[in-house]
């Protein structure tokens, strides 16, 4: 009698859950297998995609174009080395890998993972746009900063580097603010902070030139005008 009771207890406490577990595991295995197949197929697909994109980019002369507009240089500065066509191939490879990983995770049919993925997928486009905004802002800031520096030096402006850094920072801050707004982080706070910062800079400059730096501004303008007059005395014909 005691033995029968023990077996029954053992069955309900140990064997039952184990059976249940193995049944569930067996039911889950096809999903897992499906997910693994999708994932590995995705890796192969990603590799094929990478090769195709690299080939197209090479045919379209992307490396030369990126080099001309300064993308290669900007990438090198932040430690991303190699040809832009290869980089593009790698980006597409990882994009395919991320997509197939998501599909594979869906194929597991686990409610908790499904919930998490849904939330992630809704947020993903915002994240993508935000990253893109920061990259474009960084490249544009560098390009415009350098253009400002060269133009200011050629115009004989003594604080050329300061001016260039200002332009670069302004473009980057603007892009960063846009990215934060895209992510919905402190939406109003970012706009207000940016407005205050920008207005503050303008007001500070106005005060500096109008009141505080009246004499400096006067001296500067006088020097500029005098210099322009002197420059007019240059009779050299460069062409």
């Amino acid at each position: 009698m005691g033995i029968i009771v023990a077996i029954t207890i053992c069955d309900s406490i140990v064997t039952g859950p184990l059976k249940d577990f193995f049944q569930r595991l067996i039911a889950f295995l096809p999903n897992l297998l499906g997910a693994l197949i999708i994932f590995f197929l995705g890796l192969v697909l990603g590799w094929i995609f990478k090769k195709i994109i690299m080939k197209i980019a090479t045919l379209l002369n992307t490396d030369r174009f990126c080099s001309t507009i300064g993308i290669t240089e900007a990438c090198a500065k932040v430690g991303i080395k190699g040809q832009p066509s290869h980089l593009l191939g790698r980006i597409f490879y990882w994009l395919v890998v991320v997509i197939v990983t998501i599909i594979a995770l869906y194929a597991l049919k686990v409610p908790a993972i499904e919930n998490l993925l849904e939330r992630f997928l809704i947020y993903l486009p915002n994240l993508f746009i935000a990253v893109l905004l920061i990259i474009v802002g960084y490249l544009l800031g560098n390009f415009l900063g350098r253009a400002t520096l060269i133009a200011s030096v050629n115009a004989g402006i003594q604080f050329a580097a300061f001016l260039a850094r200002g332009v670069k920072a302004l473009v980057f801050v603007f892009a960063f603010a846009m990215a934060l707004e895209q992510l919905g982080i402190g939406r109003n706070m970012v706009i207000v902070a940016f407005t205050i910062l920008f207005s503050g800079i303008v007001l500070a400059l106005a005060l500096a030139f109008g009141l505080g730096g009246k004499d400096i501004a006067k001296d500067y303008l006088e020097k500029r005008l005098k210099k322009e007059e002197e420059e007019k005395k240059d009779d050299i014909q460069h062409l």
Binding site: G70, F143, A151, V153, G156, E230, K233, I236, H238, L239
Partner: protein, 425 residues
Amino acid sequence: MPQKPAILSKDTRKRLREIKEVDILVGIPSYNNARTIGHVVKAVEAGLSKYFSNYKAIVVNSDGGSTDGTRDVVQNTTIDQDSILVDHKAEQFHKIAIPYRGIPGKGSAFRTVFEIAKDLHVRACAVVDSDLRSITPEWIELLIKPILEEGYDYVAPYYHRHKYDGTITNSIVYPLTRALYGKKIRQPIGGDFGFSGRLAAFYLTKDVWESDVARFGIDIWMTTTAVANAFQVCQAFLGAKIHDAKDPGADLSAMLYQVVSSVFRLMEEYASVWTRDGESGSVPTFGFMYAVGLEPIHVNLDGMIEKFRLGVKELSTLYESLMPGNLLQLLGTIAEGSRERFSLSDDAWVKIIYHFALACHHKVMSQEHILKSLTPLYLGKVASFVIETWESTAEEVEQRLENLCLAFERGKPYLIERWEEKRYS
């Protein structure tokens, strides 16, 4: 395949069909030059009457849409043939003044001239600027005769200019073009040229008319194309070149960018030509040479040195991607030195130019940024040149330029070696 828009209008084509054929064509590109073009047209007509009275000729004004009546001035300008002492009155030559089509620029104006030359089976052409004040009828003789009678395909102008005029030509374009292509053409971007009908037709085969060649840089393009494609080249001494003052507000860095980028672009196209070894040789020069007086001119030496110093200080990070460390160090030393001892040697200047060419070739950054950052260094070289030659005569200055050219030629292997490298470092 979409059809390309016609370069010449139906009316012009009709007019050309009526004319059928001419021997000589003189083209005058213009844009709002009503004030000066009358004199140029008179000189051209007098030149044709005086020296080519037995030939059929046409004067073509290729205009960029002037609003000041430039084309009317061209049409209404005539010369009194008795006043130019000719024995045989010339046949009445043809004259057309038409607006050119395409991108606004001197290159598009020239393209129209080439098209007309091709249509009329012209034997010899000349193009002269519409703002010239020193043009004489002899210019037409000197630009046309080497083609008609000596069998040349291209006649470059040779002017005597003030020792401090044309400093971009003297310090960059002339020595560089000479070192690269081996021809001592003193004014490769002179603006007034003679060329054969054969060469005009060759120019038209080139697909450059939607590029910067159409906007600017046609002068160096014509010279380099003729030399690099082994056409027979000579130069004609035209005396002094005096033209309407350029816009004083014109930005030097933009001007430098336009000229130097044109030369560098041609280096890409003709790399297989100039990377071959060979020393430079003279080209035959026609015309009676005489010296031109040197009037004192104002030079803002302090301004130039100040801009050089500012450039070396502020653009040092940018220069690091363009030039080697030892050259940057040398520039730093010059910038920190006193004004009295300010000197940028020829060898250093050659290296600067070659490294800028290499940076453009290897696309280190935007070409416009590279070339506009050359401005302070160019001003430094001009300042150094002025200090060195302040007391020199025109002949001594010419000898000084010869030394610079030789430095460019000596440095050519250095350029070739780095040009062919896959990466720029």
